[in-house]
């Protein structure tokens, strides 16, 4: 049969956003792929060159609509490296709570989008139900539902609201019970197993060479995690282990990537519960905004020659900001902002990963890598 190219996207349920996957098919079999990105390129890196350091946080938020807090924190840690800022310990705990809540919400959004990809609509409804609890908690922290603009250079915008710890504990305990429900409906669903097991094999070393990181690598059987390898924040004081999955000899399949994310949600929830207990000053105390206990002092300018970068464990892999100081306004703006998006590097790899499988496997394989186009196109 003759080979031909077909375009999946930019409007296709598989893409989870605006991009095109050109697929070369021979009958039903995929023989070559070529991703085409850039449909929602907004030029964030250029815009940031004309903003001062505090104004960039909302732009970082909007890089990923499913995982805003992790992105603004990734920026904040790089900015603190550039501006040489000390952060109070309590603020680091609050940030950890915000980031891990966001990680749970992001993975729930992923699972919620992945279930209908492989023919299980119930899973989506259930995941979005639990995501709502996380969104409520994040809304209490940041004040809005999606783009929180929560961290500040040197600390956080505001302390945990009064009663937050109580509600957070209750909701996370409920959530930990309900994770078992997802496992029950997915692990015992024949359709889900048939469509995810044995497709989209990926090996750990190959993924690292291709620049893929985070949960996708942990699904392939190595517990590499930026949070222990390049430590930041207060993760050393918490009792946790990065989740890791046992793949097959051929590598991790879509099912392993689903398992590792479910495990990671559980790990993050436990981490938050642990962090609330260990928080200096107690999780029930409430400091006013701007109190030195939650917000350190930070300079507003960075001279030319100063640089800062920070590797951050995003929900989708290793994200990073590289900032060069000394832009306009005598260093009030960065001279150059460069953003490392995990999905920008992962999408080309995931596209190569599906060669040899059937067209019907494309949504299952692509979705299992958790693509997010907001951060990809920047």
């Amino acid at each position: 049969m003759a080979e031909m190219w077909i375009s999946m996207g930019p409007q296709h349920p598989m893409t989870h956003g605006l991009w095109t996957l050109k697929v070369k098919v021979d009958g039903e079999t995929v023989v070559d792929t070529e991703p085409d990105l850039g449909y929602i390129h907004r030029g964030v890196e250029k815009i940031c060159e004309a903003r001062d350091f505090t104004q960039i946080t909302p732009y970082a938020d909007r890089l990923c609509y499913a995982s805003a807090n992790t992105w603004s924190h990734a920026y904040i840690y790089a900015a603190e490296d550039l501006l040489e800022v000390e952060v109070p310990e309590r603020a680091e705990y609050i940030r950890m709570v915000a980031v891990e809540l966001q990680r749970v919400a992001s993975h729930l959004m992923w699972l919620g989008a992945y279930c209908p990809d492989v023919g299980n609509l119930t899973g989506m409804v259930w995941c979005l139900r639990e995501r709502e609890m996380m969104m409520d908690l994040l809304q209490e922290l940041g004040g809005s539902r999606m783009h929180y603009n929560f961290p500040r250079i040197g600390g956080v915008k505001r302390d945990l609201p009064i009663g937050f710890a109580l509600r957070c504990r209750a909701k996370l305990k409920l959530f930990l019970e309900r994770i078992q429900e997802y496992e029950a409906i997915l692990d015992e669903s024949t359709i889900f197993l048939v469509r995810t097991q044995g497709v989209g094999y990926a090996k750990a070393e190959e993924m690292i060479n291709h620049g893929v990181s985070g949960p996708n690598v942990r699904a392939a059987g190595h517990n590499y995690d930026v949070r222990w390898a390049h430590p930041y924040s207060i993760y050393d004081e918490l009792d946790w282990e990065p989740s890791v999955e046992r793949p097959s000899i051929k590598g991790s399949d879509c099912y392993d990537r689903y398992r590792v994310r479910v495990e990671e949600m559980r790990q993050s929830a436990l981490m938050i519960l642990d962090g609330l207990d260990k928080m200096p000053g107690g999780a029930d105390t409430h400091y006013q905004s701007g109190d030195p206990a939650i917000l350190g002092k930070a300079p507003a300018r960075a001279a030319e020659g100063q640089t800062g970068f920070h590797h951050f464990e995003d929900s989708r892999g290793e994200s990073m900001f590289y900032l060069a100081g000394g832009g306009d306004g005598r260093g009030k703006h960065p001279y150059r902002v460069s953003i490392r998006s995990p999905m920008f590097i992962t999408i080309p790899y995931a596209s190569k990963c599906m060669i040899g499988y059937k067209i019907a496997d494309i949504p299952a394989i692509m979705g299992s890598f958790d693509p997010c186009i907001g951060e990809t196109d920047r």
């Binding site: 004309a50 620049g211 059987g221 190595h222 000899i249």
Partner: protein, 219 residues
């Protein structure tokens, strides 16, 4: 229980690398630097390299220092600096990720014993920078065949900044439209973006009156 790498492990591993880089002579300058923000001032390896030696250094890092991961490649345009108009910064990492071990046909996932890591097994951050003097066609050697992860990073750097990579196969626009004009790379500094202060934003919230500084000029 140690559940993350200690500053001491990182520092000694970084010093080891810097000492070994000295074999390259004048073309490569390496030093141990420390992060300056946050709670930990972790050490990382900072290397300045002559652009023509970059590929050789990359091969050496990959082979003897087990650097297995290319995080990001950034291009910066410094139009006022004639000696170093173009700068390329590569952020590499040593992750130490290996495929899980197989014993008696059973796969065993790897859980690293973090406290025992030493030498080439310690995860490490690298910042490698190189500069190119003023030229219309800046380019540095490509490392996309050493770390495949560099492939799309290099495409992006060419697309947005206009720095080419010699030996890169299949260079094309990735973020900008495919039919963007030749030579148009928006992160070059001749394309100006004006700062709008907050007063201006309130007076003209919709932004009808705003224009970029270079509007009307041929780009």
């Amino acid at each position: 229980m140690a559940n993350e790498i200690s500053a001491k492990q990182v520092l000694s591993a970084a010093k080891e690398i810097v000492a070994d880089v000295a074999d390259f002579g004048d073309a490569v300058n390496a030093e141990v630097r420390h992060h300056t923000g946050g709670r930990r001032k972790n050490a990382y390896v900072y290397i300045e390299v002559v652009a023509s030696e970059w590929r050789e250094l990359a091969l050496w890092l990959k082979k003897t220092k087990k650097v297995d991961y290319c995080s990001m490649i950034t291009g910066i345009h410094w139009p006022e600096n004639a000696d170093a108009t173009w700068q390329v910064v590569a952020h590499l990492m040593r992750t130490g990720v290996t495929n899980p071990t197989v014993v008696n046909k059973r796969v065993h996932e790897i859980k690293v014993d973090i406290a025992s890591l030493s030498g080439n097994d310690v995860p490490m951050e690298f910042e490698i920078t190189m500069t190119i003097p003023d030229t219309r066609e800046p380019s540095v050697p490509s490392v996309a065949d050493i770390w495949v992860g560099a492939d799309w990073n290099e495409k992006e750097t060419w697309d947005l900044v206009g720095i080419d990579f010699e030996g890169h196969i299949g260079m094309r626009r990735v973020l900008l439209p495919h039919d963007s004009p030749t030579g148009y790379h928006p992160l070059q500094k001749q394309h100006k973006l004006r700062y709008h202060d907050f007063n201006e934003m309130y007076d003209d919230a919709q932004g009808f009156g705003r224009k970029p500084e270079d509007s009307g000029r041929v780009k």
